[in-house]
Subunit: 430 residues, 2 copies
């Protein structure tokens, strides 16, 4: 007898529509690969009457999406509503509780409730799959959970957001100011009308929290994470970085040092010739440093309906094949209450930039403040500003504790010779 599994797709936006049409067209090939027929039993979305550029048979329309969780012959629910609360949350909790497999692309939901959801899935022996929630078409979750399962991961990092990377790349390549680059990104469909979470680092943070839990066998940690976005980066920074041999990238980094884990999202100066510095546009890249595999790099398209569907289907086929896995690699009982640390003791070199009034003794005062906080200068460039009234100072420091830079900044901000808010951008060795 031929095996069949019944699927409900909830949410028919860009991604839901693409996925629905893909599945319709590729039923046979999926059967040939998994020995199981993927049968779309129902679809559900806000409005049946919304104009769509494809034909949606009325008989598969489910009015109340939440009811999918209780329909007996439903096997798999694909949640493509989005958002960490509301209908998406209700549906996914109800589905897993009712022993339905769940596939979701919802990083906000997974990074917030992933641990609770994982526990229910394990108890009920169903799959809770979220490959599409992190880096679109890059099979990074599957690689951590399956391809690299043998490995002790000590660092995972990369460029995890295409929108911000597009903005930084085009600021660099086309010499645009931040707002112009953002406008272009919106025009090209690379940024949503409300691009806040892409720009303020929240999107990267959600993905990083998921990757951290997967990589370090820990629970998701929402508290101990540094999140800085890109909106303070201007053309002067981009230009300075180039002169100094760097590119500016928004990175997400999780690493383990003496069994203590740090998570951080921030713009960073990255050596121009390094691999990461050359990931431009909407591309994503993830680097996994582990033992015994060494350094593994995965690169690809990080968003969009096509790449996201690639990941959704990969999750679907895993379920169709009966490949039941723990959602976060390890059994619930074996996941670690790992120690998470903030980065205040972590050492960085930084790029420090400030504009000051062009008067005697100021440079001496700045370096004194730095010395007092154990920050030493590696390189210093002083130039008159365009209006020639002030001086622009760029300092590349030697390594010092993160907390030391905070202290230096606090003092410098208060000085009456400081014209603009001084800023630091960490330098990341990759």
């Amino acid at each position: 007898m031929v095996k069949k599994m019944n699927i409900v797709i909830v949410g028919l936006g860009n991604i839901g529509s693409y996925f629905y049409n893909y599945l319709n067209k590729n039923k046979n090939i999926i059967f040939n690969k998994t020995n199981t027929i993927p049968n779309i039993l129902f679809v559900s979305a806000k409005s049946l009457s919304k104009k769509r550029n494809f034909n949606l048979p009325k008989k598969i329309w489910l009015k109340n999406s939440l009811s999918a969780a209780k329909i007996k012959n439903v096997d798999i629910i694909v949640e493509l509503i989005g958002g960490s609360e509301g209908p998406a949350k209700k549906l996914v909790f109800a589905a897993l509780k009712n022993k339905k497999h769940v596939i979701t692309a919802n990083k906000a939901l997974v990074s917030k409730y992933g641990d609770q959801l994982s526990k229910i899935a394990e108890k009920n022996k169903v799959n809770f799959e979220f490959e599409a929630a992190v880096c679109g078409g890059i099979p990074i979750i599957r690689s951590i959970k399956e391809g690299l399962i043998a490995n002790n991961i000590n660092k995972i990092y990369g460029i995890l957001n295409g929108t911000s990377n597009y903005i930084l790349s085009s600021m660099d390549e086309e010499k645009l100011e931040y707002n112009e680059a953002l406008l272009n990104a919106k025009k090209l469909g690379y940024a949503e009308s409300n691009p806040d979470s892409d720009i303020n680092g929240d999107d990267v943070a959600a993905k990083l929290k998921i990757l951290t839990a997967l990589s370090f066998n820990s629970f998701i940690n929402n508290k101990t994470i540094l999140v800085e976005g890109i909106k303070d980066i201007d053309q002067t920074d981009i230009n300075n970085a180039n002169k100094l041999g760097y590119k500016i990238k928004l990175i997400g980094v999780a690493e383990s040092d003496s069994n203590k884990i740090t998570q951080r999202v921030h713009p960073a100066l990255i050596e121009k010739n390094s691999y990461i510095a050359k990931i431009n546009g909407v591309l994503n890249a993830v680097i996994v440093e582990s033992n015994p595999a060494g350094k593994t790099v995965l690169q690809g398209e990080g968003a969009g309906p096509g790449p996201t569907t690639s990941s959704l289907v990969s999750d679907l086929c895993s379920i169709l094949r009966g490949n039941v896995k723990f959602p976060f690699v390890l059994s619930e009982k074996k996941r670690k209450f790992a120690i998470f640390k903030n980065i205040k003791d972590k050492k960085f070199s930084v790029y420090l930039r400030l504009d000051v009034k062009d008067k005697n003794g100021i440079l001496s005062d700045i370096t004194k403040i730095m010395a007092k906080n154990r920050v030493s200068v590696k390189r210093l460039i002083q130039n008159p500003t365009l209006n020639k009234k002030n001086a622009s100072i760029i300092i590349i420091t030697h390594e010092a504790k993160s907390s030391s830079f905070e202290k230096v900044l606090t003092v410098l901000k208060r000085k009456n010779y400081t014209v603009n808010h001084p800023k630091i951008i960490r330098i990341e060795k990759t």
Copy 2:
């Protein structure tokens, strides 16, 4: 009741020893990830008395490795003997016939007998896993079979051999001649005492054939494949390539054009600033172009006991979790008898190099030969050779059919003004 699977490891060379020790140390973590105990029932190798730097309990020693296939409570056999014939072949065939799961790192065996073995595995509903056979620690096979399962792949290519890549990289970076670079590679353990298959392209060809079958849902094709190695590349070529803005790399490429598949392994000039040109040393990189995921890149360590063990354990965990898959993605009956084409009609730009006697009218004769065969010059550099008796001619051509270059070479070789054998290296756009 706790699930347990019994494993026999056959072959205790570098990789077998590393894998055995890894498994001994990581039993618990593997159990926590798969819910199944990986129990080493037996190990077998050429000699029990061979000095090893680890303790091997006598009670798990199996004298006759082939008997593993017939022991009733054996579930999984890990074949690490190597070679496409002899004991490895006998063992793997016998194991699958007796419904044992098989894991192997043996690319020679898989590329030769993979189709037959796959058929037996499918019939007997056991896994036949060979992640470790292609690109060491890079989870490329799992990515094609699972992470990118949704995709229609139209091209897969990359740097698939660390030894040859190390040689070419060090010829470039340290300005070494081929033989010196090879000697260094041997000293550093990057080349075996007999490195023939790494250097003549056979190793890449074996990996490429496996990747081709996986990517295009076809059977393995051993006949229609171009295989050229790197031993004719000298420092002059490396130097010329640099001057022209290229690096020389040994690449493997499989692509589908109007449903016809070509497979080729050859050195290529690759634009200096492209991603592939920067993969240096013993690293491997695979690029998959597919729909709807787009372009996906996987990079990592391509060989060595650590990375290989990473892949073996990934296969093992898949079996322990009961993730039964078709070895070549699709069910046997659905795999395609695809059309494979040789590359004679495929168009390339090439680098053509020849030394000629420095006489009047020769250049005109060469360009006439080219024109007759529909090969046109894009760029030409003529310099006196070091001894000043001859002239060295480097031509970058426009695109022309592969077969046209063969004709040009045949004619040029016969000319009495030709001093050395003329050579061509294809230019690859990536």
